[in-house]
Amino acid sequence: MGNEYLLSMSNITKQFPGVRALDDVHLNVRKGTVHGLMGENGAGKSTLMKCLIGIYIPDSGTINFKGEELHILNTNFALSKGISMIHQELSPIPHMTVAENIFLGRETRTWYGLVDMKKMNRKTSELLDHLGIKLDPTKKMVDLSIANTQLVEIAKAISFDSDLIVMDEPTSAITESEVEGLYKIIQSLRDQGRSIIYITHKMDEVFRITDEVTVFRDGKFISTDPTSALTRNMLINKMVGRELTDMFHKESVEIGEIVLEVRNLSGHKFKDVSFEVRRGEIFGVAGLMGAGRTELLEGVFGVKKPHSGEVLIEGKKVEIKSPADAINKGLALLTEDRKLTGLYINAMVRDNMSIANMKQYMRGPFVNFRKIDADCERMRDQLRIRTPSLKQVIKYLSGGNQQKVLISRWLLTEPNILILDEPTRGIDVGAKAEIYRLMTELTRQGKTIIMISSELPEILGMSDRIMVMHEGDKIGELTRAEATQEKILHLATGMSLATA
């Protein structure tokens, strides 16, 4: 491990309308190390990285890289200096192939000047083979799963042969075995003397692969320590600035009668699924990506009409043809993809919050803004949403706060049954704990929660009962008492419990 700083960013400040995203922060990365960058959402990690690779230009501060002071004005310049990044939120170009995406912006060309697809495909194959990724370079990105899309992003960042690679939550969508593969890649990159800045929310990852960890909080630098000198609790304390004693705040709530029953429901990507949920219950839905969990609950909610089967609410058969029907019947659905199906990204917090409940805010033909403001203000307090004002445009809020706004949106419609699809994806620990606490609070009020989640600790920590799905089938159901991580994984991968 060298002692030289490969990168040092000093006194970086970046201001956005209404928010000081970075306030005089530092980051020093040694050569040949994996440097963890941690902090809650909105702490400024991504903003700092965007300053590093030229997407944002910092208002002040200096960047030293390989002993040279750089003024990074665009990504091309950063790439040419040897800095590349795996973007967490940037989707690729959908109708182009894997090879075209990887070589975007630096296509190989034939001697007569045309793009040399053959060579690009061959080089992509070599690269993917080297990384142990099984993928056809001529496949279009739209046809890839989320996991494979992420693997392509990783391959792309590595293909630049950079001295410093920034990885922004690279494992958020890939499977366990692929994560192992990535760790191997990271280790070999480190052995070659390259440095990696690794942004993650997952504690296990930090302790597994990083050498040093820097923590940010609310746009400020908190500390840099060798990983070996840290414990889990110390790290969490640094990130949230307070003790988190009880991550999964679960109270036993009296469980009442059946409120929702689904019988033999079949549709696109799920078949013949039956289950029922009771008042006050948190019903977990587990399974691997692509198991049909989201599609099933979207079917119940009327997003896409199921092909066959029936849905009963409080014992009465109902026909839900559209989300509007579902909302009228007291259902709410927090969707999986915040950006794509949740937020009006350019609208104010207030409008994002009140949109599903507009009917309640009409006074004749006019909108009663006073009532909206009162309700939104209440929600903001109750859920501790951090925003300078209800009139702030929501895109400037952190992921965790955006998620809280979306939950508020549904709470305002006063639903009896909340379907939460990956409610804590991409959210920091502090916000997660708050959302868990809120879920418990809601069940105490007699509401029912159906939670789809890919995070096993969350499923195990919060659910009263757990349904496991595999390739569109309901493959098993476990009570809170009998559920373990191993049992769920067994079912989710299609094995029966007998072999467990």
């Binding site: 989707s91 690729p92 182009m96 975007l104 739209v142």
Partner: protein, 344 residues
């Protein structure tokens, strides 16, 4: 036995899908070609005059102008933009080019100082006007970030006005034989406009599918932010595609005016919509960029040609023809959406 097979195939559809999927993909990918083939066959039954050599050449000759415009428009649509100004550019280009092609000494020569210029000057000035207009579109879209619909709507009005102003609303007739040869002559029995279309289609196809420029406009249309982060100069390539569209429109303007032997400021009205229709029928997507091909667009233009021709041959009134054309473009977009639904 056949029935048993169908049943089991249905049963197994979920599991053993690859063969079905590739056939599906093949039909989906080349669907527009099959539609064209079908229309062609139906048309030959509807009218005995359809399958004659003269008529077929006529169809292609008529679609040439739209085809050439559509080559550029396809690129603009691929980059997630739109170009409404093509028809008006045809108008301004054809009067400027024609003013240099006038035979000197006639009674109604409009710009005597330009009359009698060599042919090349007509072509160069015509193309220059188209490229200048394309540059203006591109500059406003890429640099000033004005939405393409607004920019090209403005150009649609302004260029038509400029054409009227340039000639005081009068046509420029009595053009040189050399100029008229572009639209009326042929080489080895092939009308020159068709030749221009073929050559331009080939060049554009290579440009879009095999060059860096082409890759970048697909990238920009598919995901502009990702393209930017990959180090692509989005502004530059966006400007270039509007310039290329302007260039294609100017070629169309020269073809039209030389074919009728007259430069008229009112030429090219609604050509932009025919060109957009051709691109959309051919698979370019107005709802999401990054999709569209030149072979598709050419087939799209041919489909419009065959439909128009068949309606003419079967004596359908001009009013009905417009209604039918309106339905075709909406139908094409519905088809496109259905197609992309499966992709999600």
């Amino acid at each position: 036995m056949n029935e048993v097979k169908v049943e089991s195939a249905k049963e197994a559809a979920a599991k053993s899908g690859p063969q079905k999927a590739t056939l599906d993909a093949f039909v989906r990918k080349n669907g527009i070609f099959f539609i064209f083939l079908g229309m062609f066959i139906i048309a030959s039954f509807l009218s005995p005059a359809f399958l004659t050599k003269i008529n077929l050449i006529n169809i292609v000759r008529q679609m040439c102008v739209i085809g050439v415009i559509a080559l550029g428009v396809t690129g603009v649509i691929v980059s997630a933009g739109i170009d409404l100004s093509s028809g008006s550019l045809v108008g301004i280009v054809c009067v400027v080019a024609a003013s240099f092609a006038q035979i000197p000494g006639g009674s109604r020569v409009l710009y005597p100082q330009f009359a009698g210029s060599p042919l090349i000057l007509s072509i160069v000035t015509g193309c220059f006007v188209g490229i200048l207009a394309g540059f203006t579109n591109g500059f406003l879209v890429a640099k000033m970030k004005v939405p393409p619909f607004i920019v090209t709507l403005g150009m649609f009005l302004a260029a038509r006005g400029a054409a009227m102003l340039y000639t005081q609303g009068r046509p420029l007739s009595n053009l040189s034989d050399a100029y008229n040869f572009i639209g009326q002559g042929d080489i080895w029995g092939l009308p020159i406009p068709i030749l221009i279309l073929i050559v331009m289609a080939l060049i554009t196809h290579i440009l879009y599918s095999r060059t860096k420029f082409g890759k970048y406009i697909y990238a920009i249309g598919g995901n502009e932010q990702a393209a930017h982060v990959s180090g692509i100069n989005v502004t530059k390539f966006k400007m270039l595609i509007y310039i290329y569209a302007g260039f294609c429109s100017s070629l169309a303007g020269i073809i039209v005016s030389s074919r009728i032997g007259s430069g008229q400021p009112g030429l090219g009205v609604s050509y932009e919509f025919d060109a957009i229709t051709a691109a959309v029928i051919g698979g370019a997507s107005l709802t999401s960029g990054g999709i569209g091909t030149i072979p598709g667009t050419i087939i799209g233009a041919l489909i419009i040609g065959v439909v128009n021709n068949t309606l003419d041959l079967t004596n359908v009134s001009a009013y009905w023809q417009q209604i039918i054309r309106g339905m075709i473009i909406v139908g094409a977009v519905i088809l496109d959406q259905q197609k992309n639904k499966g992709n999600k």
